[in-house]
């Protein structure tokens, strides 16, 4: 009998420590059975349920891009039981993966448009899937100007530093890196992400803004995007919510009639404004 809830077995190949406090790590995993890829065709913005057997299961956004073949990456903050168990695991260990679940970023709608990514802290994880997809040689030509504004509380809280360096060097993106407060070695920009957004001042014309980060950042980013003239339908974000099954049955991730696991996690600001303020 088939079973919706039995995960695919996957092995941790590599673990990258992202933050100075060691509370965010990126896990690169591969399926034990390569044929799983036939049913695991994902798109930027989707998530998966990760299992540590004996501990439990948690929904985590896929931070790698479908253009990266043969493996999946998940950037995970140590927070609850499952994420803590993952943080204590080592390369070579076995975990479970089921998915991909949820909707995805509206890639087709974004084609031919300028893109502005605005991320804070680990909020870069779900956006990185789309950024990597857009920057891939095969796709870059389909999109216009790419602007990335990324910030964290401190230099030690920035994630994907190994990738940020590559983005800084590329000539086909405008990349703005900021921290709320620098340290003695920090020579870069200081300032909150929403303020940097106003300094950069992207034009709303033929543009889509994609944002993810802590709620307080999102709140001011949305206000500032509206000041810059962006309409709610031009703003895209991705939500997280307490979730168990991932497939619309266990009944806990709804916002009004919308289930974050099936109807989301990606929503436009226009859609969010029509949903009850209960998230």
């Amino acid at each position: 009998m088939s079973n919706l809830y039995i995960p695919h077995k996957a092995r941790i190949k590599e673990i990258i420590t992202e933050t100075a406090a060691n509370d965010v790590k990126t896990f690169r995993v591969v399926f034990e059975d390569e044929s799983v890829w036939d049913s695991f065709q994902y798109r930027p913005g989707q998530f998966a349920e990760l299992s540590v057997f004996g501990v439990g299961e948690a929904p985590i956004s896929i931070t790698s891009s479908p253009t990266q073949k043969g493996y999946l990456e998940f950037s995970i903050k140590k927070a609850g039981e499952v994420t803590t168990a993952l943080h204590y695991s080592a390369p070579g260990e076995l975990i479970g993966v089921r998915g991909p679940y949820g909707n995805h970023f509206p890639v087709e709608i974004m084609e031919g448009k300028h893109l502005v990514f605005i991320a804070g802290g680990i909020g870069l994880a779900p956006l990185r899937s789309l950024i990597t997809y857009v920057l891939d040689d095969e796709h870059r030509g389909k999109f216009r100007d790419v602007t990335i504004i990324y910030g964290a509380r401190s230099p030690g809280d920035l994630v994907f530093k190994w990738e940020l360096e590559k983005w800084e060097k590329r000539e086909d993106i405008r990349f703005y890196l900021t921290v709320d407060r620098g340290d003695e070695t920090w020579t870069g920009r200081e300032g909150f992400v929403p303020a940097v957004l106003m300094e950069v001042g992207p034009s709303p014309e033929n543009t889509i803004a994609i944002t993810c980060g802590p709620p307080i950042m999102i709140k001011f980013v949305l206000q500032n995007l509206e000041k810059l003239g962006f309409s709610p339908s031009q703003i895209v974000t991705t939500l997280e919510m307490r979730m168990k099954c991932g497939v619309g049955k266990c009944g806990r991730c709804n916002i009004g009639p919308r289930y974050v696991c099936k109807d989301g996690p990606v929503f436009t600001y226009e859609q969010l404004r029509q949903m009850p303020q209960e998230y």
Partner: protein, 336 residues
Amino acid sequence: MAVKILQKKDLPCLLGKWSQSARVLAPARQDEMTNLAPWEPGAELDLGRNTWKPLKELFFPRSERMFAYTGDRMNAELSPIDQDHEQTVVFGVRPCDARSLALLDRVFLDERFTDDLYKAKRERTVLVGLGCNKPLRSCFCTSVAGDPHGTEGLDVLFVDTGDEYAVYPLTGRGEALVGELPEGSGEVEARASALADLARDMMPRYPAEVLPDKLTHMFEHEIWDRIHEKCLGCAACAYLCPTCHCFDVTDEAKTTEGHRVRNWDSCMFPLFTLHTSGHNPRTSGKQRMRQRIMHKFNYFPVNSGAIACVGCGRCVEVCPVNTDIREVISEIGEVK
């Protein structure tokens, strides 16, 4: 399919015949409660009222193993739980409970993500209904698109017409159970139909049909400040509700073996929506009561095209502080 007829005294004989090729469950009195129990020859049926526990438990158990695993951090074997494939016939299902399965099917059997655990149990089970001639005080099926002699979700419907049952086969599987019974007369059918009318007339009506549209604009309404006030948050209503389907998923493990398990859960509990970060979108009893009512009378209709309440009245009977969903329906119905 034409109506059949069964003399009441011949019911045990018919159940006995079914039990030769299937497990037969029927309502029986146990521990001062009426619940489904395995039927065997000589067993006494209790057909006076609906079962205390909802029918969903047969298909979506209170606690259910989802799969098993053995191994350690380096290697693990995952295996499905062996499903009991024994054919099952449930006798005496009330039309409200049968409808609840038709509603749960929209959740568990959706095409994109079919819940195989639920599906296996649905496929092996035949539902034989018993029409309600005497609704209880807490019954209100006719207010939520149900009917005391309704057939949705059933394979056969029995109607008690006095000394005999009028028997309506409704599906192929139902026909297989009762096909050999003699055909009933038009007079029997007329009697059954009159009993249905009588039962319908016995139930007061509540304006539930206006709720799906109305609630769309009532998320911020002041009514939610009142309705939840006496609620203790015990969730007895949700556990006995035949359409509530929320569950928690957890691992039960020893060192090298364990199971992933799902357990009934409820939106009435404050921890239900608690994020790991400490953030909780529904911290107050007001928000949780609103979620429960909105889910049944607005969100479910939006997503699945029907009110997620079958009017069985179990929540009315069980609530320790006498919250009565029918009063809630009426109050919302009266909002201008």
